[in-house]
């Protein structure tokens, strides 16, 4: 997807920027990888498709990148993350060139495997919102990553150049895909059982934390020793502590890109907790992260009529 537009744009701006952070085909089928295009001959490698899972904004934060003026390929969610980073003073606007990529959502390999068994790349022909498998047509929407099923922003709210054309807002999700709703509907003990079971799986590899562009603390609270908040042992409650702590640190900042969830090697729906916090913030503090630079972050401001009933 967008290959022509990408190469044209890239050859135009390379030179103006010191590098283009984009995606290139990975070493395995159905994988894309972050790619830093710095030379003319790299331009041909740039591409974009339904497997461009990582949130590239993360790469803006490496030391060498902070000093450079770079272009970056952003999906809707990634662009929102960049806006949060701008707002938090982590990157400079003049150092950035945003290449917006309207996104049909990322396709989940495990969902494909569930349906088609062992996957063979030549069986598939990909188009923007459909694909064919051995000649049979399927809708991309039925195979999306969980994080993309709930996406409300396929288009970057901010960009310097756009690949292709803006997409219409995705339709409201059918009830079955409303993850938060499904958990919220459970009674308290069932919710606990659900999270306990998921937390039991976590090995605390921090793939979620490290894939998240907004988890940029030089020392994460889990690594602190004075005080030491929790131990390194990956037990259920310690893991829950980590994920709760992380969700709270993300409060009002998380752009719901789902990079953490897609990064999890054990398939834990870690996105649920930060997602719920964002829902609360949307509902009670009328704020959505990464939409503009002006609205103050919800935890850096207050209103006198904020919820108060929970306090005696």
């Amino acid at each position: 997807m967008y290959e022509r537009a990408l190469t044209e744009l890239a050859s135009k701006i390379l030179g103006e920027v010191e590098g283009i952070i984009g995606y290139a085909p990975g070493s395995l089928p159905f994988h894309m990888r972050p790619f830093l295009c710095q030379r003319e001959e790299d331009i041909a490698c740039l591409s974009f498709n339904h497997f461009a899972r990582p949130n590239l904004a993360r790469y803006l934060l490496t030391l060498e990148m902070r000093k450079k003026r770079v272009a970056i390929v952003v999906k809707g969610c990634d662009a929102r993350t960049v806006i949060v980073l701008l707002k938090e003073g982590q990157v400079k606007r003049e150092n950035l060139y945003l290449i917006g990529a309207p996104c049909h959502g990322m396709v989940s390999v495990s969902k494909l495997e569930e349906r088609f068994g062992v996957l063979s790349p030549p069986d598939f022909v990909w188009e923007a919102d459909t694909f064919t498998w051995r000649g049979e047509r399927f809708a991309i929407r039925d195979f999306l990553e969980d994080s993309c099923e709930r996406c409300a922003y396929p288009n970057p709210p901010w960009y310097d150049a756009l690949l292709g054309e803006e997409l219409p807002k995705p339709p409201v999700l059918p009830g079955g895909r409303d993850y938060l709703g499904r958990i919220k509907a459970l009674p308290l003990e069932k919710r606990w059982e659900f999270f306990a079971q998921e937390m039991e799986k976590c090995i605390r590899c921090y793939a979620c934390r490290n894939s998240c562009p907004l988890c940029y603390c030089t020392e994460c609270f889990v690594d602190q020793t004075r005080p030491s908040w929790l131990s390194q042992a990956a037990t259920r409650n310690e893991n829950l502590f980590f994920h709760l702590g992380r969700s709270l640190h993300m409060a009002g900042r998380c752009t719901e890109c789902g990079a953490c969830e897609r990064a999890c090697p054990l398939g834990i729906p870690i996105g649920l907790l930060p997602l719920y916090v964002e829902e609360l913030i949307r509902e009670h503090f009328a704020f959505e992260a990464g939409m503009n630079l002006d609205t103050p972050a919800p935890l850096l401001t207050y209103r006198e009529n904020d919820p108060n009933e929970f306090i005696r």
């Binding site: 958990i183 919220k184 308290l188 003990e189 069932k190 919710r191 606990w192 059982e193 659900f194 999270f195 306990a196 609270f221 005080p227 908040w229 929790l230 131990s231 042992a233 037990t235 259920r236 409650n237 310690e238 829950l240 502590f241 709760l244 702590g245 969700s247 709270l248 409060a251 907790l273 719920y276 916090v277 609360l280 913030i281 009670h284 503090f285 919800p298 935890l299 850096l300 207050y302 006198e304 904020d306 919820p307 108060n308 929970f310 306090i311 005696r312």
Partner: protein, 146 residues
Amino acid sequence: MVELNAWEPKIVAFLCHWCSYAGADLAGVSRIQYPPNIRIIRVPCSGAINPLYILKAFREGADGVLVSGCHPGDCHYLSGNYFARRKFFLLKELLIFAGIEEERLQFSWVSASEGQKFSQVIEQVVEGVKKIGPSKKGLKEFAFHV
């Protein structure tokens, strides 16, 4: 094994220096009775409480946590408790979402003159926690038998 009826909850109370701590003090000097289950930690302002303090208290074995500060508008630092309120709201809702009983984490506004209210709050908190029993959901699980 501790029998359930012999069990007394341990409750960590984070009290703001200017209001709730003074309120607790007043309850003390006025000889108002309240359950002895709380361990008070004095903090400069309810806004100074990092949600991690609360999670850590659960991890280290608190059966309940109470956070108490000045009434809205009365903050010694003008608006600390307003900021705190947003944080606490999110934390409380998040814990409930994760399946942790709402009685575990409670909040109150207690001013320096409300000794009576302080003792009532403690009674209610202790009662609530007693109802749901010992905390297992946040506690570190290094049960270790030699």
